[in-house]
């Protein structure tokens, strides 16, 4: 009895199972190909993003004075030429000097502004934030042009403080953004608790707020350093002849020469940038500040 009853039933089940598998297989084939296409496209995009950086490194180590592919050997002659060149070394030192001054100025001003915006109950704070972030979106070449014209009108020449002020202006948005992100994320009740326990607002600020916003401020500072170190359009208008920043010197060199020295200089900048990124990751973790 059981066998008779179960047979048609099992056949039904089997055929149902077969149709499902067939349907799944029918859909799975294009799905698998779609998945492969998706990954292939993304890998191609990653190659597009990273290959130029790899090429620069290869080119810096290649001994021939012109571009040769595949490379014929490994040499450090371009690094020697770079470190022996007074122009490049002077520019590297000057860039580091400007970036250091800019970082201090942008961090102090930007972090204070962020605190004022987040905790000062300022009216129109949204407009203030938009204003503080505007040097990011407005072409930096305009900031350079406008400052250059003002310095010409005021007849002050091209002073170092003028260059640092320009750099500070274009780096402040990063500090404001990272500091504000941290200030918005942490619990205001921590500050309230400190005050309820009898701490004065000033003591609360130094013992609760400041330690908590430190990662955001540090991330902003590192960003400010990188942006200032790589800054081009503002420097283009504001550097004095004879004391140029590294990007300007590289640019002027590139206009006439395409040898491996530029590759070596690039590798030095890339290494500096990577050291900074690793430091950044150590201090705050990469995810927390990458918000556009």
């Amino acid at each position: 009895m059981t066998s008779l009853a179960s047979r048609p039933q099992s056949r039904l089940t089997v055929s149902a199972a077969q149709t499902t598998t067939a349907a799944v297989r029918g859909r799975a084939v294009p799905r698998r190909w779609g998945r492969r296409l998706y990954l292939a496209a993304n890998i191609a995009i990653l190659i597009f993003l990273l290959a130029p950086i790899a090429i620069v490194i290869v080119f810096a180590l290649n001994p021939t004075p012109f571009i040769q592919f595949p490379p014929v050997g490994v040499s450090l002659r371009w690094f020697e030429k770079f470190f022996a060149s007074r122009d490049f070394i002077h520019a590297l030192g000057f860039s580091l000097e400007v970036a250091a001054m800019t970082t201090v100025a942008a961090t102090v001003l930007g972090a204070s502004a962020a605190l004022a915006i987040a905790r000062g109950n300022l009216p129109g704070s949204r407009l203030i934030v938009a204003t503080m972030l505007s040097p990011l979106m407005l072409p930096a070449i305009l900031t350079g042009l406008a400052l250059f014209q003002s310095y010409v009108l005021l007849d002050v020449g091209r002073p170092l403080w003028g260059l640092v002020a320009g750099h500070t202006l274009v780096t402040i948005p990063y500090v404001v953004r990272t500091t504000l992100a941290v200030l918005h994320n942490f619990d205001v009740r921590l500050e309230e608790a400190a005050q309820n326990l009898g701490a004065s607002p000033i003591r609360t600020f130094f013992e609760v707020t400041l330690p908590l916003v430190k990662p955001g401020v540090m991330a902003g500072a590192i960003f400010a350093f990188i942006v200032s170190f790589d800054q081009f359009p503002v420097s283009l208008f504001l550097v004095a002849p004879g004391s140029e920043t590294l990007p300007i010197t590289l640019f002027n060199y590139l206009k006439f020469d395409l040898d491996g020295t530029i590759g070596a200089a690039s590798v030095v900048s890339i290494l500096l940038a990577f050291i900074v990124v690793i430091a950044l990751d150590r201090i705050v973790g990469l995810r927390s500040y990458v918000k556009l």
Partner: protein, 291 residues
């Protein structure tokens, strides 16, 4: 206004003052001066009798060369934006949907690495790739695919390739944030109802990520039209864009007034983009508020 809805301004608000001073003296005042200079006949410091003039703007309107330069700048900006979107979207989608934390960190590194490499260095990289004796032409020649080198740079194509590489990370980071906020279960629901993954993407994910597409595109366009290094080096001084023309007016012609007028044109275009960008970002965060 009731006190509860508008808390009193406290002493921390004073911390805004140093930045306010910096912005007033080194941002608003200079840009104001630029606006004034663009309608003056000369430099008021050197020449005692300067007057009002619209000749700098008239020169732009009357000479088709300058209109051509403005159009070239916008055209390069549009192509760069379109290419950055097409290239940036898949990567942003992958970054937003990848499950592995290590995978996400590696992708983030890959996107940030070019951003941290400096514009001059990246432009140099593309010069070594695209020039007549560059890597791409050498590879193609060695395989016998071409006999004469392809003209890959010193034209608009070269400029656009370089600009896309420089600005695609901005597109990816903007898009990833927006795609990441789209509930993945919406796509799964569409697929469970019988839609193919492609159709689920076109009808669910893509429309929901439109604000991100718009915000990223505005950002990339604003950055691309103000680029200087890449257009001048990859264009080989052959192609004139607005930023190149502005710097030329200062460095070669020392025509501060005309440079200021050109600057005002670029400022107007950029300001409208900034306003649109902030509006779109407002839409994005408004949408998040609804969820």
């Amino acid at each position: 206004m009731p006190a509860s809805s508008a808390p009193r301004v406290n002493s921390l608000a004073l911390l805004i003052l140093p930045s306010a001073l910096l912005f007033a003296l080194f941002f608003f005042l200079p840009i104001g001066l630029m606006a004034v200079m663009s309608v003056l006949t000369g430099n008021p410091v050197v020449m005692p009798n300067v007057g009002f003039t619209t000749r700098h703007y008239a020169r732009m309107g009357n000479d088709s060369y300058y209109l051509e330069v403005i159009w070239t700048t916008i055209r390069i900006g549009l192509w760069t934006t379109l290419a950055a979107l097409v290239i940036g979207y898949p990567l942003a989608h992958w970054m937003a949907r990848i499950r592995s934390r290590t995978g996400h960190a590696l992708l983030l590194m890959a996107v940030l690495a070019p951003m941290l490499t400096g514009i001059v260095v990246r432009t140099f990289a593309w010069m070594t790739l695209l020039s007549d004796k560059g890597v791409i032409n050498q590879i193609l020649t060695s395989f016998g695919l071409i006999t004469r080198p392809l003209q890959l740079m010193y034209n608009e194509t070269g400029i656009i390739i370089g600009l896309v590489h420089i600005y695609v990370p901005f597109m990816v980071l903007t898009l990833t944030g927006v795609i990441g906020r789209i509930d993945e279960r919406l796509e799964q629901a569409a697929e469970n109802l019988g839609a193919s993954p492609w159709r689920a993407f076109i009808e669910v994910t893509l429309p929901l990520s439109l604000p991100g597409i718009l915000a990223g595109s505005l950002l990339v366009f604003a950055l691309a039209i103000s680029a200087y290094v890449t257009p001048i080096l990859l264009g080989g001084f052959q192609i004139m864009t607005l930023p190149i023309l502005i710097y030329q007016q200062i460095s070669a012609n020392f025509n501060v007034g005309f440079a200021a007028a050109l600057g005002m044109v670029l400022l107007t275009i950029s300001l409208s983009l900034v306003i649109a960008y902030n509006h779109v970002l407002g839409l994005v965060s408004g949408q998040r508020g609804l969820q």
